[in-house]
Subunit: 238 residues, 2 copies
C-alpha cells in the first residue's frame, strides 16, 4: 500500500480568478511532488463531456500536463487502472455519482487511490464524491443515484462552496449551517465546510487545510470550530 | 371523483410576517370554501414532531381550526382515510419523503386528494412532495429515500423559495436558475419557481398563482416566463 495523495478543492472557480487559477500553485505542487505528468479527467458531473474536457485541458496543458477524458475510453475501468493521476471536476453531484455507479467505477477508483497511492484531485462535486457520502452536497437532486454513499477516500464529509449566513438577507430558506445541523440530526459523520478558495490536502496520514480562508468544522452535538489555513486536520482521517 | 383542492405555498415563513401569517387570508379562504374545521398535520420534515405540531396548532387554533398530528396515530393510513384535510409542513424534503415511503402513506394521501377531493395544503418541503418528484428541492440530501418520485398531486414540479440570481454576489456556487436548467438537461417536466410569499391554488381543473410576487416558469428548451399574481396556470395541470 502506498500513502494516499489527495487534493480536495472547494471549487474550481473563485471570484477574481480564471478557471482553476486560484489553485494553480497547490495543483502544480501536488502533481510535481507526485511526479505526475498526465491526468485522467472524469467529466461526468456536466452534460457535455467533450466541452468540459476541452476547458480543463486548455488550462492543465498550459501548465505542462497532458489531460485525457475518461468518457473517450471504451474500457473505463482499464483506463482507471492505468491512470497516473485522476481528476474529477465539479457540476451536479447526483449526476456524477450516478454515472460512477452506472459505469461501475466506484471500486476501481477507490482501489487505485487507497491501495496504489494514485494521486486524486477533486473540485466541488468531485470533492463531494471523494468523501464518505454525498449527503452534504449543495446540488439539486436532478437524477436518482443507487446510493448516496461515495468513494470514501476520506472518512468524513465535506460541504464545498461553504457560505456563512447572510445576516442582511430577507430570504427564509435554510442557511447552510442549518442544513448541516439537520444532517447531524441523523448522522455523526463530521462535515468540513470548505469556503471557496480553500482545499484539503491529504498526504498519507496527514491532512492540512490550504488556501486563503478558514474552514468550518461541524460535528454532531458540538459547537462548530473554525480552522485557519495550514491547520493540521489529520485527526479527521482516523 | 370530487374536484381536487390543493394549496401549495412556497414557504411558511416570509420576511416581516409571523409563522404562516403571510398566507392567513389564502389559508382561511381555502379551508372555509371547503368547509374544513379540522386539519391532519404531517410533521415528518422536521425531527421533533411534537414541537412542530405545537407550533402549527398554536397558529391554526387561533384561526378557528383544530389540528391533529399524524405522528400521534397508531394507524396512520386510517387517520389519512378519515382526515377532513391534510397539511404537510416544511423542513427537509428528503427526510419527509423517506418517512412517507417508510410509513407507506404515498398511495393513501394520493387517493384521498385526487379521488376524494380532500383538501391538501403544503408549504416548502410539503409543496415539493405534492408535485411529480422532489428533483427540484433546495434541500440537502441528509437521508436516502427509496425514490425521488413524490405524491404527484400535480403533474409538474415546483421549486419553492425560488430566488433570483444575486448579481452582486462573489459566490461561485450555481444560481437557482442554473440548477433548474441542469434538471432540464435530463427531464422535460416543467418547473414552477415560486418565490417566498406566493402560492399555487388548484381548484379542480383550474390553477391560479396567488400572493405578492411573480412566479417564474421554467420549461426545457424554452426561455423562462414570468407570471404575475392571479395568473391562470391551469395549462400546467394537463
Amino acid at each position: 500500500m502506498k500513502a494516499k495523495q489527495i487534493l480536495l478543492m472547494s471549487s474550481s472557480a473563485v471570484h477574481g480568478f480564471g478557471y482553476l487559477e486560484h489553485s494553480k500553485n497547490d495543483i502544480v505542487k501536488f502533481l510535481n511532488k507526485n511526479k505526475v505528468k498526465s491526468i485522467l479527467f472524469i467529466p461526468f458531473a456536466l452534460k457535455n463531456h467533450d466541452d468540459y474536457l476541452r476547458k480543463v485541458d486548455s488550462v492543465l496543458s498550459l501548465w505542462g500536463y497532458s489531460c485525457d477524458g475518461l468518457h473517450t475510453k471504451t474500457d473505463q475501468i482499464d483506463a482507471i487502472n492505468k491512470a497516473e493521476s485522476i481528476f474529477i471536476g465539479g457540476g451536479n453531484t447526483f449526476r456524477l455519482l450516478k454515472t460512477l455507479y452506472d459505469n461501475k467505477l466506484i471500486e476501481a477508483i477507490r482501489k487505485r487511490v487507497l491501495n496504489d497511492g494514485v494521486p486524486y484531485m477533486g473540485s466541488s462535486a468531485g470533492t463531494n464524491v471523494a468523501t464518505l457520502s454525498i449527503n452534504t452536497t449543495n446540488d439539486m437532486p436532478i437524477v436518482f443515484p443507487p446510493s448516496f454513499e461515495a468513494l470514501g477516500l476520506v472518512k468524513f464529509n465535506i460541504n464545498p462552496h461553504y457560505m456563512d449566513p447572510d445576516v442582511s438577507s430577507k430570504h427564509k430558506g435554510e442557511t447552510r449551517e442549518l442544513r448541516i445541523s439537520e444532517y447531524h440530526e441523523v448522522s455523526d459523520t463530521p462535515v468540513l465546510g470548505l469556503r471557496e478558495g480553500t482545499s484539503l490536502l491529504v498526504d498519507g496520514d496527514k491532512a492540512t487545510l490550504i488556501g486563503s480562508f478558514n474552514a468550518r468544522l461541524f460535528q454532531a452535538g458540538k459547537t462548530p470550530i473554525e480552522y485557519e489555513p495550514n491547520s493540521d486536520l489529520s485527526f479527521l482521517l482516523f
